[in-house]
């Protein structure tokens, strides 16, 4: 391996999932000599050959690191997506915007840096009914984003645009990822689907576009190693409706009136405090006794005044408060309200045609892979539904007809017609026979 040609790559936010996967791909690539990871926290043990530098990007000092390590490629993936993660809105903004500005200032000085890859998000597009179905990279954003994360990301992109003007010899790639999902991704979206019931916006059903973590790491790796300057949307082909995603996950949605949802962030945080209080501060026994006492007196007439019932109710109340707390921990900010109210589906033609990169996981498969990781316990079970149908058919004495459609495995239950070989993501093409999209056969 020619030592002189080896690439020296610096990855920020290396303890994050995306950067971790990216660093291990870079480690395995023979073109790469050295990988340095920067973060506040140490990355997992799986990064054997990555040098770790504990540093706060918000402070100056990166210039020295870049210089000493002889870095030629910088991949900036450090992005905080929720105030809870950073410990408040102000620290969040600092970790996103100020850190980026500091990093870019250092890179501007570092004469050896030839390539910069910046993680962004399709959240920069905001979302509006006046936007086309697929948002292209050069499209005028229809609305100003309002959520904290999308606000920050838009700001980060402005900083990068300014950097491009200052150092035109650096090939800068901006990667606008759709919502990341996968077996290891932790995000407000994945936490949302982990809730027993998922809040949705009444009357709205946005199309979701997702990006599998493996695809995200692959694209970031390719962008770091080859010159593909420009802004790219990165996402899996195809979409799923939010309602469909909920059904795939086996989660009932709870529609919230949109006017209320705008203030849900505040509401859930308020409720979180109450929920936390109910769970921790108030001794459970006391709550139970108090509630039981009230119930004894109050509902005697209703004939419901069994102590057990009252105690049970009290316990459920405490539990419900805990659930609300979970919801708040899912961090229902304006970002999520935006995500749940408007589709923001990006056009990935440029990634495929210009960069020649093809995400392997269509949105639907990416989501199913996330579900397969076992972090989402379905409230409505597909197999149980199938069993119910089978039982119903048996009751009616229809064994003969029921068997071919009733005994198939849930992922393949496209019913009696043979698979029409219509991949879910190529729906824009019409076949003359008027295709009925069948289910998930393109695994």
């Amino acid at each position: 391996m020619p030592q002189t040609d080896g690439r020296r790559v610096l990855v920020t936010g290396v303890s994050g999932q995306l950067a971790g996967q990216l660093a291990s791909r870079l480690e395995d690539d023979e073109r790469v000599d050295h990988v340095i990871g920067v973060d506040l926290r140490e990355p997992g043990p799986e990064l054997a050959r990555t040098g770790f530098v504990r540093a706060d990007l918000r402070e100056a000092g990166m210039a020295d690191v870049l210089e000493e390590a002889g870095i030629d490629t910088v991949v900036h993936t450090d992005l905080v997506t929720s105030p809870a993660q950073a410990g408040g809105r102000t620290p969040m903004r600092e970790r996103n915007v100020i850190a980026t500005m500091q990093l870019l200032a250092a890179v501007q000085r570092a004469r050896r840096v030839r390539r910069l890859v910046v993680r962004s998000s399709t959240a920069v597009y905001g979302g509006a009914p006046t936007a086309p179905a697929l948002l292209a990279e050069d499209a005028e954003p229809p609305t100003r984003p309002r959520g904290p994360a999308s606000e920050d990301i838009a700001e980060v992109e402005r900083c990068v645009a300014a950097f491009v003007r200052r150092r035109d010899d650096v090939a800068v790639s901006v990667l606008r990822f759709a919502e990341l999902v996968g077996p290891t991704v932790e995000s407000p979206l994945t936490r949302l689907f982990a809730l027993p019931v998922v809040p949705t916006l009444l009357g709205h059903d946005p199309r979701l576009q997702l990006c599998h973590e493996a695809d995200a790491a692959d694209v970031a790796c390719a962008m770091a190693l080859d010159d593909r300057p420009g802004t790219y949307n990165v996402a899996g082909p195809g979409v799923v409706y939010l309602s469909q995603a909920l059904r795939l996950a086996g989660k009932p949605g709870v529609p919230v009136p949109p006017g209320m949802a705008a203030s849900t962030a505040g509401l859930t945080h308020g409720a979180a405090a109450v929920g936390g209080l109910a769970r921790r501060r108030v001794p459970a026994g006391l709550a139970r006794r108090g509630a039981a006492g009230v119930a004894r007196r109050g509902t005697a007439a209703a004939g419901l005044a069994r102590r057990g019932t009252a105690a049970d109710l009290a316990r459920r109340g405490v539990e419900a408060a805990g659930r609300v707390r979970e919801a708040a921990e899912a961090d229902f900010t304006l970002d999520q309200v935006e995500l749940l109210s408007h589709s923001r589906v990006a056009n990935i033609d440029r990634l495929r045609d210009h960069a020649g990169l093809h995400p392997r996981f269509p949105t639907r498969e990416a989501f199913e892979d996330f579900l397969a990781s076992g972090r989402v316990t379905p409230t409505v079970d597909a197999e149980r539904l199938a069993a119910w149908q089978a039982r119903l058919a048996r009751l009616a004495g229809w064994e003969a007809v029921e068997r071919p459609s009733g005994s198939d495995s849930p992922p393949d239950d496209s019913g009696p017609p043979p698979p029409g070989a219509t991949p879910g993501h190529s729906g824009t093409r019409s076949t003359p026979s008027g295709p009925r999209p069948t289910s998930t056969e393109e695994h």
Partner: protein, 342 residues
């Protein structure tokens, strides 16, 4: 006012007689050609339990048949409940459209407005094409009926992909439903993408001004927007199929528009019709007029040079040509019409 030139009707009749299979003018009774076409379409392998179940007339007492129907319905329900279906990037859910939404619209098409559909042979069976129609009716039922016509009665059973105003997607409940049934935003990018993918795209260039026009202005076509549809057709060289819809203007004869209420609800107009709000909730029931949807001879855009799309004069020329064609078809249909309701 509908004024017809003497030579137009025979020409029209000749074309109708010459090119189409004996498509009867009597809309209610099924023309002989229609049933056969529908059968043929249903023979496609993945469609056997599908959209056209009303065409087949099963012997009601057959228990085997009942089992199949119930099992199929339950499997369908389960598939919907577990999310095992797919939608395209524009959000069209073909299964939902064919099996839930169209069965709702179909009785309106067949029995309520008794839509008579003519000139379906002018709509290509495959490849991109732009269907351009006149808009009317206070509520855009005309788009829904055109969709039913092309899916049910066209030999190829084509899904019409309508380009709608952003208002449609702003409305809660209605917006997602519009997308799922195949609508998308009337935006240059969306139209280009659909046509390049070989879809049949429907556009009503009058927009909301067309839907919300007064009764006294009925069947007078408004301005055809900025000619965006012509631009897209020239770019993709997709043929333009003019479409005239007669009967929709009279479903809610609009006699007034309460501007301040429209502003309050952020709507393009707030209609006062003969029925609404006079009859209260009953006023939203449209009148059972007799409809006629006619597709005209396609306008071939490939005869224009490729650079025509950038020549605004050409674009306006084509726009006017399409508008005049549709207006002419509407006028002829009005002249033919003997009664609004029969």
């Amino acid at each position: 006012m509908p004024e017809r030139d003497a030579d137009v009707v025979p020409l029209d009749a000749a074309r109708r007689g010459g090119q189409s299979p004996p498509t009867g003018r009597s809309g209610e009774s099924q023309p002989p050609g229609r049933g056969g076409e529908a059968q043929q379409r249903e023979a496609s392998p993945d469609d056997e339990h599908g959209a056209g179940s009303q065409h087949t007339d099963p012997p009601q007492a057959d228990p085997q048949r009942l089992e199949e129907v119930v099992t199929e319905a339950l499997t369908f329900l389960r598939r919907r409940m577990t999310g095992a279906y797919s939608v395209d990037v524009f959000g069209m859910d073909r299964e939902l459209t064919e099996r839930v939404l169209l069965p709702v619209a179909r009785p309106l098409y067949r029995h309520y407005w008794r839509v008579e559909t003519l000139g379906l042979e002018h709509v290509p069976s495959e490849g991109g094409a732009l269907v351009v129609g006149n808009h009317s009716g206070t509520l855009p039922f005309d788009a829904v009926m055109a969709k039913v016509a092309l899916l049910d009665d066209h030999p190829a059973g084509r899904h019409l992909r309508e380009l709608a105003a952003d208002l449609a997607f702003r409305l809660p409940f209605f917006g997602p439903l519009a997308r799922k049934s195949g609508n998308t935003l009337g935006h240059h990018d969306d139209a280009m993408r659909l046509l390049s993918a070989g879809e049949l795209v429907g556009v009503w260039p009058e927009g909301f001004k067309g839907v919300g026009k007064r009764y006294r202005d009925r069947y007078k076509l408004g301005r055809f927007g900025r000619g965006g549809f012509a631009n897209v057709a020239l770019r993709t060289q997709a043929p333009i199929v003019p479409m005239a819809i007669v009967g929709a203007e009279e479903i809610y004869p609009q006699i007034g528009d309460v501007a301040w209420l429209a502003r309050l609800f952020r709507l393009p107009y707030f209609p006062v019709t003969w029925q609404f709000p006079l009859l209260g909730p009953l006023g939203v029931v449209p009148l059972p007029t007799k409809w006629r949807i006619e597709f005209g001879e396609p306008i071939d855009t490939s005869e224009y040079p490729p650079e025509a799309a950038d020549d605004q004069m050409r674009v306006f020329e084509l726009t006017d040509r399409v508008r005049a064609t549709v207006q002419g078809m509407v006028d002829r249909a009005l002249a033919d019409r003997e009664s609004v309701f029969f």
